[in-house]
Amino acid sequence: MSFAREASRAVRSTLVLWVLTAIIYPFVMIGIGQLVFPFQANGSIITNTQGQPVGSALIGQPFTSDRYFNSRPSTTSYSTADPKKDESKVLQTGVSGASNLAPSNPALIDRIKGKADPDPEKAIEGDIPRLQKADVKPTADLVYTSGSSLDPHITPEGARAQISRVAKARGLQPNQLEDLIKQNTDGRSLGIFGEPGVNALKLNLALDALKPT
């Protein structure tokens, strides 16, 4: 077979398959998504009572204060930034990321345990001392950073460990918080696959609805 004939087939098959798999297929899927499942297809955005978007049902947010159930530590602070000083342009695109620390890396232990240093810039508070200061018994999910840095969940144990602190800060009864945690727990899919997780954003939204601060 001549070179020209082979090259022509290569070019023609490239273009034909490109139209089929890169144009027709994705645009049909976008059409179906937007028509049939507009909520999911646009990122499961949840809104407050005024109709303003407050976040996504699937994406976590940073919570570090006593008034809220804290979320997991995140290497990107859940893709957030101050719009006034966003030098790294996080808000232009949104980001995700992970620590990629090996289990044998001393930096992992320093981050979890904390490290004193005469230079306050170099000192690390540590995830466990931070939690202990807030009177929360540390659990694995609250000291390890997540895979995506956007993990929407904390474990049910991690949520329960925070009940007394949040109850004190909000002046609520612990059993009210137990109920809220149960209502905002996503169970295993089909009751079998995956692990149960408490959606921290939904839980904290419910908390605000129950008793605004």
Binding site: R9, A10, R12, T14, V16, T21, A22, I23, P26, V28, M29, I30, Q34, Q40, A41, N42, G43, I45, P53, G55, L58, I59, P62, R72, S79, T80, D82, S88, K89, L91, Q92, T93, G94, V95, S96, G97, S99, N100, L101, A102, P103, S104, N105, I109, I112, D141, Y144, T145, S146, G147, S148, S149, L150, D151, T155, F193, G194, E195, G197, L205
Partner: protein
């Protein structure tokens, strides 16, 4: 703990259960027998064949088949490279991303043509929606279909048939296997929460501090996600791949992901059984990678369940799962299962970060990349498995003094040379030589981020992932240039990233095209042999004993070459952790 093991066992059972159905379907597709989609697809395919200029009955030789792949892949590569480099002038760029550096674009192109999908880029910050849909998403179909076509051509040759026509196989793999499943799968994924939109990121004020905003990246993810997994591509829409809640929001999507990743390489062995008219042998061959897969899952899952002893001591418990780089919704069980399956099958998607796995996980994932046959890549994994079988026939033939025969065809010098070249030479050359060069210049080239033994694993993993066309990585490695947005803001490019982008291209290409050519030539030479009738003197290859010997051959030939690296990497790291970090 029991709950986790139940999930693992059920997932594997589902995979085994679909194998006969899917395997039979693929056999019908590639033997051009009647299938349920005929009324729609026959006219569509006739139209596509006429556009491409092929006739369905035109068979190619092994060499012609390989050359057609090469031409076709070069043209496709030029197309995707141009799309990425010109993305700022193309539509569908809502976040205004300029072109990435040339080396990032080159590496991404080669990595996607070769069905590898290493991510030296982050989807959110490097690529526009056009680059993802029109460039990467396109290659997810064609590179997977190319692999599947090679696998089918190899099976045809092995069973004494003509190899077929590459363009016909390429088109049928897309229209009859990849595209129909992707359409159904994408709709299910959208319903489960995976976005499919052209809108840019949503910016919302955070609940705790409204002065701080959150950018929620989204895009046309669902259609991309399903072919990413089904085609064993593995390149995520987002930086963090299937760990991202928008790529993989819950346990159900994780199950769909896992099943779609392994369904083709497992079922293709059954397809072989139908072609060879020997289902018993297909199941025996199937058991080889299955046993190895289960072993690696157990090793990895135990490591992640028990967790990091140093951290457990700080938490004041004996056992807590290692959740560094893991999502709560997947936990230790689904993360460990995913890590082993994604490296076994050469998919390379990740739902947790392999760099942060305990050494057990590093050992299993690296071993998968070294062996390449624990079901292995789309089409090519099955072909490698049979190349091992040919070597096992040769070795047992030598041991018992019989003429080596496989499926009634004599194994002679040419076949043994091709099979051993394929298995024993290409892979170590593509991994260990560039690995040694990078390690010789740890500061200038390697860009290692984790100190000690783990650093060696990072370097070797990257080349093993490239050469095996897997695409996962120990992602702490300094293999990424700054994003185009950062470069536009004045960031300087990185020398280690340049080295990684270019040197892995060598491993990617060597690990893809050399074996494909060798496999096709091997198939061709098997197909041309006169069948010899089986006698009492024939060594039977469909027995448990022969299967056991083959496992031995695989472990000895495949693993021993790389054992020194495993000993210095994950095994040494395990001893280090047992002794105490610091």
């Amino acid at each position: 703990m029991l709950q986790g093991w139940i999930q693992i066992v059920l997932t594997l059972l589902i995979l085994v259960a679909i194998t006969p159905f899917f395997g039979r379907y693929m056999a019908r597709v590639f033997q051009e027998q009647r299938t349920i989609l005929d009324p729609i697809l026959n006219p569509v395919e006739r139209f596509l064949y006429s556009l491409v200029g092929v006739r369905a009955k035109e068979d190619m030789t092994g060499w012609q088949y390989a050359r057609a792949i090469l031409y076709c892949n070069v043209v496709m590569g030029v197309l995707i490279f141009s799309i990425i480099m010109f993305q700022q002038f193309l539509p569908l760029n809502p976040t205004g991303i300029p072109a990435p550096t040339w080396d990032t674009a080159l590496h991404t192109t080669i990595s996607f043509i070769t069905n590898t999908n290493q991510q030296h880029y982050s989807g959110e910050t490097y690529l526009s929606y056009a680059s993802q849909m029109w460039g990467l998403g396109y290659h997810m179909f064609t590179s997977a279909a190319t692999g599947l076509a090679v696998g089918i051509a190899f099976i045809r040759g092995l069973t004494g048939r003509p190899l077929g026509n590459f363009y016909v196989d390429l088109i049928r793999a897309i229209t009859r296997v990849l595209l129909p499943i992707s359409i159904v799968g994408a709709i299910v994924l959208i319903a489960a929460g995976v976005p499919e939109t052209l809108a840019g990121p949503a910016i919302v004020p955070t609940l705790e501090d409204p002065a701080i905003s959150q950018a929620i990246a989204r895009g046309p993810v669902a259609h991309f996600e399903i072919i990413k997994n089904l085609g064993e591509n593995g390149g995520g829409f987002f930086a963090i791949n299937s760990a991202h809640p928008f790529e993989n929001p819950n346990g159900l999507t994780n199950l769909i992901t896992l099943v779609s990743i392994l369904s083709i390489p497992t079922s293709l062995i059954y397809t072989y059984g139908i072609f060879a008219n020997n289902i018993k042998q297909a199941w025996l061959v199937y058991s080889i990678p299955f046993v190895i897969l289960v072993g690696f899952i157990i090793i990895t899952a135990i490591g992640e369940y028990n967790g990091n002893p140093a951290v457990n001591a700080l938490l004041g418990v004996d056992q807590a799962p290692n959740l560094e780089g893991k999502e709560v919704r997947f936990g230790w069980a689904q993360s460990a299962l995913f890590a082993v399956i994604t490296t076994a099958s050469m998919c390379g998607a990740v739902n947790s970060l392999h760099d942060s796995f305990m050494p057990n996980g590093g050992f299993s994932t690296l071993s998968n990349l070294f062996l390449q046959i624990v079901f292995g890549g789309q089409g090519t994994g099955t072909a490698y498995l049979f190349a091992y079988l040919i070597l096992a026939v040769f070795i047992t033939g030598l041991m018992v003094g019989r003429t080596p025969e496989f499926l009634g065809r004599k194994i002679e010098k040419r076949e043994v040379v091709l099979a051993s070249f394929l298995i024993l030479l290409v892979h170590p050359i593509a991994i260990l030589i560039p690995g040694a060069i990078a390690l010789a210049f740890p500061d200038q080239l390697a860009g290692i981020s984790n100190p000690g033994f783990h650093g060696l694993s990072q370097v070797i993993y990257e080349y093993a992932s490239a050469a095996a066309n897997n695409g996962s990585g120990f992602e702490g490695l300094g293999d990424s240039q700054p994003s185009p947005i950062a470069i536009a803001g004045g960031a300087t490019t990185s020398a280690t990233a340049l080295w990684w982008n270019l040197s892995t291209c060598f491993s990617l290409l060597a690990g893809r095209y050399v074996p494909i050519a060798a496999l096709l030539l091997l198939a061709d030479s098997m197909a041309r042999k006169q069948p010899v009738p089986a006698t009492t003197g024939t060594l039977r290859t469909d027995t448990g004993l022969f299967t056991g010997v083959t496992i031995g051959v695989i472990l000895i030939l495949g693993a021993l070459e790389f054992f020194p690296v495993l000993a210095l990497g994950p095994i040494a790291e395990a001893f280090q952790i047992a002794r105490g970090i610091g």
